[in-house]
Amino acid sequence: MKRHVVAEFAAEAPLLEAARALRAEGQAEVDLHSPVPLHGADEALGLKRSIVPRLALVAGLLGAVTGYLMQWYLVGVDWPINVGGRPPSSPPAFIPVTFELGVLFAALAIFFGLFALWGMPRLHHPVFEVEAFRSASVDGLWLSTVVSAEAAESTAARLRGLGARQVQIVEDAS
C-alpha cells in the first residue's frame, strides 16, 4: 500500500530546495502546493512544457476547418441559397463562422483538456485527511510525495532534515 507524505515549509526557498533534493534522490511523484504562484517551481519539479497549447492549436484548426467545410457544404452544395445575388459559395461570408468555430473548439479543448489532465472530476484525495493541509489554499507552502509503506518513515525524516515545519504520513486506501 502506498503512503502520501506531506510536509509544510515556512518559506519558498527551502520548499523548492526540498523538491529538488527528493527528486535527485529518485522520488518521482513529488508535487508542490501553494496558494500563490511559485517562481521556479516548474524547474524544481522538472515539469515539461504543458501540452495544452498544442491541444488548443490542433482543436482550433480543426474547428476552423469544420466551420468552413460545414458552410461550404450546407449553402454551397447541399442547399444553395441566393443571398443578394452572391454565388452560393462565397468565401468572405464564411470567414466569421470559421473564425468563431475555431475559437470555440480551442476554448473547449483547453477547458476539457485541463479537466482531463488534472484528473477531474475527483472529489477526494487521501491528503485531504490531513487537517493542516488546508492551509495550502490559504497561506501554507506544502510539498507532497508518494512512497511505499516501508519508505514512508525515512522520507518523513528526510523532509524534517530539509527544514519542514511539520510532516505527516497518510495511508492511501485505494
Binding site: 443578394g84 468572405p92 461570408a93
Partner: protein
C-alpha cells in the same frame, strides 16, 4: 551604468540623415517630372512613418492609463519616438503644396456625375482651408501631448518622486480620446478622401491597427539592436520583456486582420454603390493579388510564427518577424493609397523607394538625435526597479 546619459549614435544619425536627405532630394527631383507619382509615393511614406510615431504616442498613453509597471524600462524610447512629430509637421508641407495632384476634390473641374455630386455634397468638410486648419489642429494636439509627456518624464530623472508620475498618468489617460479622434480624422483627410466618394467609419482604426503593430515591431527591433550595449534600454530587458513584446506583436497581428477583414466584409456584403468601388479597384484588378498577399504576409505567416513561445523569447528571431511585419505594413499602405493613381494594377516606382527611405531616414536620424543627452530609461521612475525585475507567471 543604467543612469548614464546617452551620447552615442553619431554614426547612425549621419548615415540615416544622409540617406534621408538623399531620398527626399531624389523624390523632389522625380516630382518635377512626375508630380502625381512622387506625391503619392511621398504620401505612402509619410503616413507609414507618421503612423509609427502616433502608434508610439497612443501606446504610451495606454501604458499610463493602465498604470503599467513592466514597460517602464521601455518608456523612454517610447516617449522619444513621438518627438519626431514636429518633423512630420514640416514634412506635411509638400502634401499641402501638392494636394491638387492627389485629392480630386481640390479641383473638381474634370469630375462629372456621381463623383461631382459627392464632391459638391462634401464641400463643407472637404475644402482646402478647413483641410489645412484640421491638419494644424491634429499636429498641435499630437505635439503638445508628446512634448509634455516626455518633458515631465525627463524632469523626473533629476527630481524623482511620485508627483510627475501622477501628471503623466493624468495627461496620458486624458489625451487618449483626443489622440484617437485626431488620428481617425487625419486618416479620413489624408487617405480616405483620395476617393471623395468612399467612406468607412472604421478606416481610422484600420490605419491605427497597422501603425500600432508597426510601432511594436520598431520596439522589438530597437530592443534587439541595443541588447548588447550596456547603458541602453535594450540591455536592461530580460526574456520576459521580450516575450511580452512578442505577445503584443501576435495580438496586434490578429487585431489588424480583424479590423481589415471587418471593413472589407461589411462593405462587400452590403454591396452599396458608393462604398464598393474602393474595393472593386483593389480586388477585381491585379491589385487583388496584393490583397491576397496581405492576408498571407501580414496575417497568416506572422500569426502562426508568433504562436511559438520559443520564438517570442528569442530577441533576434522576434526581430526578424518584426522586420517582416514592417515590410508587410508598407505593402498594406501602398495597396490603400496607390490605386488612386494606378487603377489598372500594382506599379512600383523608384520614387516609392526614395520617398520611403527619405522620410524614414530623416525621421530615424531625428529620433536618435532626440535620444541623446538623456538616460535611455526613466532612471528615477518609482516603478523602474519593479520593471527591471519583471517576471510574470
Amino acid at each position: 551604468m543604467i543612469a548614464t546619459t546617452f551620447q552615442g549614435g553619431r554614426r547612425l544619425i549621419a548615415v540615416a540623415g544622409a540617406t534621408g536627405a538623399a531620398g527626399l532630394g531624389l523624390t523632389a527631383l522625380g516630382g518635377l517630372a512626375e508630380p502625381r507619382q512622387a506625391l503619392a509615393s511621398y504620401l505612402v511614406a509619410f503616413v507609414y512613418w507618421l503612423g509609427i510615431a502616433l502608434g508610439a504616442l497612443i501606446l504610451l498613453g495606454a501604458f499610463h492609463a493602465s498604470k503599467a509597471r513592466w514597460p517602464v524600462v521601455l518608456r523612454r524610447f517610447l516617449e522619444t519616438i513621438p518627438q519626431t512629430l514636429p518633423l512630420f509637421a514640416v514634412l506635411f508641407i509638400p502634401i499641402a503644396l501638392g494636394m491638387r495632384h492627389l485629392f480630386s476634390w481640390v479641383d473638381p473641374s474634370g469630375a462629372t456625375g456621381e463623383l461631382l455630386h459627392a464632391i459638391e455634397y462634401k464641400r463643407p468638410y472637404l475644402n482646402v482651408p478647413f483641410f489645412l486648419v484640421r491638419a494644424a489642429v491634429y499636429f498641435a494636439v499630437w505635439i503638445g501631448v508628446a512634448t509634455l509627456l516626455r518633458r515631465w518624464s525627463v524632469r523626473q530623472d533629476t527630481e524623482g518622486g511620485h508627483r510627475l508620475t501622477a501628471w503623466q498618468r493624468r495627461l496620458g489617460t486624458g489625451a487618449l480620446p483626443f489622440l484617437a479622434l485626431t488620428l481617425s480624422f487625419a486618416s479620413f483627410d489624408w487617405m480616405m478622401s483620395l476617393d471623395p466618394r468612399f467612406f468607412s467609419t472604421i478606416f481610422g482604426l484600420y490605419w491605427f491597427a497597422g501603425s500600432f503593430l508597426a510601432c511594436f515591431a520598431v520596439l522589438v527591433i530597437a530592443a534587439a539592436a541595443t541588447r548588447a550595449h550596456p547603458g541602453q534600454f535594450g540591455h536592461q530587458l530580460n526574456a520576459d520583456h521580450v516575450h511580452s513584446l512578442g505577445k503584443f506583436l501576435l495580438a496586434f497581428t490578429a487585431f489588424w486582420a480583424y479590423i481589415a477583414f471587418s471593413q472589407f466584409m461589411l462593405i462587400w456584403i452590403a454591396n452599396i454603390p458608393e462604398e464598393i468601388p474602393w474595393y472593386v479597384v483593389r480586388t477585381d484588378s491585379p491589385w487583388g493579388r496584393v490583397g491576397i498577399f496581405l492576408a498571407v504576409a501580414h496575417f497568416a505567416i506572422p500569426f502562426f510564427l508568433l504562436l511559438s513561445r520559443d520564438l517570442k523569447r528569442n530577441p533576434r528571431r522576434l526581430a526578424a518577424v518584426a522586420a517582416w511585419l514592417l515590410v508587410a505594413h508598407f505593402v498594406d499602405l501602398h495597396w490603400v493609397i496607390m490605386p488612386r493613381i494606378h487603377e489598372a494594377g500594382p506599379h512600383l516606382s523608384w520614387l516609392d523607394l526614395t520617398a520611403f527611405a527619405g522620410v524614414g531616414g530623416v525621421a530615424l536620424a531625428f529620433l536618435v538625435f532626440r535620444m541623446r543627452g538623456v538616460a535611455t530609461v526613466p532612471v528615477r521612475d518609482p516603478y523602474l526597479e519593479e520593471s527591471l525585475r519583471y517576471q510574470p507567471q
